[in-house]
């Protein structure tokens, strides 16, 4: 038997592919093994178990989002940065709804590097608003809620007709930028 030449990364690649066709529910070790042409137990040489594989998948997805969002926000600041970030975020979800949905099954591990990075980018985009301490934290949470909420609903088909989703999202962007840049200090 020739070696399959697997690696943890290759397993995650395959897992992502499985999710892409078939949706989050299709992510099983059997499916991944089948895709890379290996018996199911062989995967355990590269991945601790299904739970870990799921975490690796969400880390991968977070990395991809962070890459895209970082590039979009690069060289921008204030409302402009937040707008670009939000649009880039959604563009990922629109392109890979199944991947985004896959994250629901395994939250990012505490202290996950990709999650931290994405969060950092988000804080960076808010820098232009000159928020301090707790206010900055609150603003970041609002931004996350808005972006993630829309993403989850759209990825899951939670909105009725897909029509005009762009316009809805533009409104959300307006609401968020308007609300976070305007009224400081809400307590």
């Amino acid at each position: 038997m020739p070696r399959a030449g697997l690696s943890p990364d290759a397993v995650v690649d395959a897992a992502v592919a499985v999710v892409d066709d078939g949706g989050p529910g299709a992510l099983t070790l059997a499916a991944v093994a089948g895709r890379v042409g290996v018996a199911t137990p062989s995967l355990y040489k590269h991945v601790r178990n299904l739970a870990e594989l799921r975490h690796l998948v969400t880390s991968r997805v977070l990395e991809e989002i962070a890459d895209r969002v970082a590039e979009a926000a690069l060289g921008r600041s204030g409302d402009d940065a937040v707008r670009a970030l939000m649009r880039a975020y959604r563009s990922y979800v629109v392109e890979h709804p199944a991947r985004y949905g896959a994250m629901e099954q395994a939250a990012a591990p505490e202290g996950d590097a990709a999650a931290e990075r994405l969060l950092g980018i988000l804080y960076g985009a808010l820098r232009g608003y000159e928020l301090e301490g707790a206010d900055l934290v609150h603003a970041a949470r609002c931004l996350r809620s808005a972006v993630h909420g829309f993403a989850v609903l759209e990825a899951a088909g939670g909105f009725g007709l897909p029509a005009d989703l762009e316009a809805s999202y533009e409104l959300l962007i307006t609401v968020v930028t308007g609300g976070l840049s305007g009224p400081r200090r809400v307590a």
Copy 2:
């Protein structure tokens, strides 16, 4: 063997209880059967399968949220109504995070009555803003995104420290009400 006196509703009750302790991942037919003191296959007399049970659970949760939110918004209008609605929504999530999380595994069936009702309440709360047609739809989507996004993140422990979540949510309320009542027509 004395009858257990089950019914679809009773099965959903038990399923919700299973989710409450144990989290969404603990929802299995075996666990539900054990809780009501019945063999697993007996559940099929009341529920088509696990997928349907999950849907029934999400309908139940949506009903509970709709009840709470409807009462909160009753007799209020405009920003006041939206504020009350948002606070009531989150209060449910804080009390029953596992139930809320359980909805991720089974989106509301197309045309689900509870989902429609909740959506209707939401539209009702926005009535005070005098939005028309597409603008109203966009506003509703923004409201849903914000509320659901925050809820998902909080229920999943997605925010770091739980500290000050109240303040963060109040900011979100301010952002949403400010953004939706102010600038009509964003196109």
